[in-house]
């Protein structure tokens, strides 16, 4: 049962929070968060101590595997959740202190879904875990249920999400029908036989997953949900579920599929191009920084899809690297937004005027995150983009690389607009911005991540390439 250790741990944490909340939830909101953080820290440590199960051995008749990829993903999810929960401690709205139990339970439930998803090698388990991951997100989006925007965003998220779930499971039904089993290891064989309905099933599934990873044109819930939901949650939402979505894609579309992977190239490349272009273009006119980051996040998914379009171990490895870099960069950026919003009461661009002179370190952190997202050397995002491009180039997808690289310039345009507010414009109000301690800590973690990965990418690359190699 050691394979299920992390899942059981999260489930236990879930129960502890539930029980603790029932006993004295309202009085000790920070205790709930503290418990969650402590538990997650322990679990993250445990995740790093765990080693993958030997190949070919899975629990529940091969339904649940604990391989390199799964372990990598679980560490990623746990880390993201840890940062998200840590930052959530700084949230000021009444709902978060009064309903801390619900908030954390939902987060943990979703996390559990992700963890199971990372190991799922069976369509049913996959689907159930996928839903366990998704449904709490709707609550969390609408968690500030007094705010019309939040509820509206939750409803939209829910409606589109459910339709996408329907599409996904419709696709899975075809996959099951042709593979004649829910065991995912049968998929490569069925694919190789070239069944049109199999292909249809995979396409529909991809569409469902496209919603989860927020690829254009499935992305449309993203900006609304990001804008309305609480920022620490959004920071987490922008990373963890997307990573989970990609993980499913690896499992379903790449793992052991062999030459049939070439089927996906046009679809992935096409999605990548439209996602990069649309995400970047739509980010340009945004005045709300969160919304801008939402669109830029869409564009980043496009870049990751470039790595996917490479359908190679290098491509997947580079995507994993990208995911980690994106985790730090994107979460960090959102958390700075939260810090500024708490002080200025605004997520508008203009709130950032003269930030460099008011709080130089905060501004520097934001700049680093933005540069990382923009793909500038010596911060993580640079290597991420570069590696992804490299993987695509190795497959001869030079045009894709060129489009991606050119649109990076557009991305830098709007990132630099924020940099302009921070560094070039004069401050409107004097004095530094007060940053709540947990928030500051989580920002610091993200900064360290971005810089360390940027300055010293070697070991990370080695690790992700080793993991990716197991897929092919």
């Amino acid at each position: 049962m050691s394979a299920l250790g992390l899942e059981l741990g999260v489930a236990a944490l879930f129960v502890v929070v539930l029980v603790g909340g029932l006993l004295r939830g309202r009085n000790a909101p920070h205790a709930i968060g503290g418990i969650a953080i402590a538990g997650l820290t322990v679990l993250l440590g445990a995740a790093f101590l765990m080693s993958p199960a030997p190949a070919g051995e899975g629990a529940f008749g091969g339904m649940f595997v604990q391989d390199d990829l799964a372990l990598f993903a679980k560490r990623l999810f746990l880390a993201a959740t840890l940062i998200g929960v840590l930052a959530s401690l700084a949230l000021r709205q009444a709902a978060f202190s009064r309903r801390a139990v619900e908030y954390h339970l939902a987060l943990l439930g979703s996390l559990l879904g992700m963890l199971v998803l990372a190991s799922a090698r069976d369509l049913i388990l996959l689907f159930v875990a996928f839903e366990l991951m998704s449904i709490p997100l709707y609550f969390l989006t609408g968690f500030l249920k007094r705010e019309p925007e939040a509820v509206e965003a939750a409803l939209k998220f829910f409606l589109v999400g459910t339709v996408s779930s329907a599409v996904l499971v419709y696709g899975l039904s075809f996959v099951y029908g042709i593979a004649r089993t829910t065991d995912m290891s049968a998929i490569p064989g069925a694919l190789a036989e070239g069944h049109p309905v199999m292909l249809l099933g995979m396409i529909l599934t991809l569409a469902g997953l496209g919603f989860k990873i927020a690829a254009f044109p499935f992305h449309m819930w993203v900006p609304d949900a990001y804008e309305a939901a609480s920022t620490p949650f959004v920071a987490w939402l922008s990373v963890a579920p997307k990573a989970a979505g990609f993980l499913v894609i690896f499992r379903l579309y790449l793992e052991g599929v062999g030459d049939a992977v070439l089927l996906w190239v046009p679809m992935m490349a096409g999605l990548a191009v439209v996602t990069i272009v649309a995400g970047n273009l739509m980010a340009i006119p945004q005045q709300n920084v969160k919304r801008m980051l939402a669109y830029s996040g869409v564009a980043h998914i496009g870049y990751m899809l470039v790595g996917l379009a490479a359908v190679s171990a290098a491509g997947v490895g580079m995507m994993l690297f990208y995911l980690v870099a994106y985790l730090f960069g994107n979460m960090g950026a959102f958390l700075v937004v939260e810090a500024v919003a708490q002080a200025e009461g605004s997520e508008h661009m203009s709130a950032y005027r003269g930030l460099a002179q008011r709080s130089p370190l905060l501004a520097l952190a934001m700049l680093l995150f933005l540069l990382s997202l923009g793909g500038i050397p010596f911060v993580a995002g640079f290597w991420a983009k570069l590696y992804v491009f490299l993987a695509a180039a190795e497959q001869g997808l030079y045009w894709l690389v060129l489009v991606g690289a050119l649109l990076t310039v557009v991305a830098l345009f709007y990132y630099l607009l924020v940099a302009k507010r921070m560094y070039i414009d004069a401050p409107v109000r004097p004095g530094p911005i007060a940053v709540a301690r947990p928030l500051g800590l989580s920002i610091l973690i993200c900064t360290l991540g971005v810089v360390v990965m940027g300055v010293w990418p070697g070991p990370w690359v080695d690790a992700v390439l080793r993991i990716a190699a197991t897929l092919f």
Binding site: S165, L172, F174, T181, R291
Partner: protein
Amino acid sequence: MPLQAYLILAAVLFAIGLFGVFTRRNTVGILLGIELMLNAVNINLVAFARFNGDAAGFIFTVFTICITVAEVAVGLALVILIFRIRRTATADHLDLLRG
């Protein structure tokens, strides 16, 4: 009847459900459309399971039915919440967030 007939029936239902989601103004109506889509999935699964002679499909169907119910529950809770806060049932009116 051949398997194809069942699949086509499911596809038609799926498309009708999708159409419903597109066109209904009322959020509950949209939910009904989604129900139709999920229902089509169930037909698909059961038909495949029967023609493949494999029980897993039936089990899959059990899961989808359960999850559908859960989703409907969430959806209706959301709808009620929306009604309470915005006093409207029409999805078209929910466009505070856009652009």
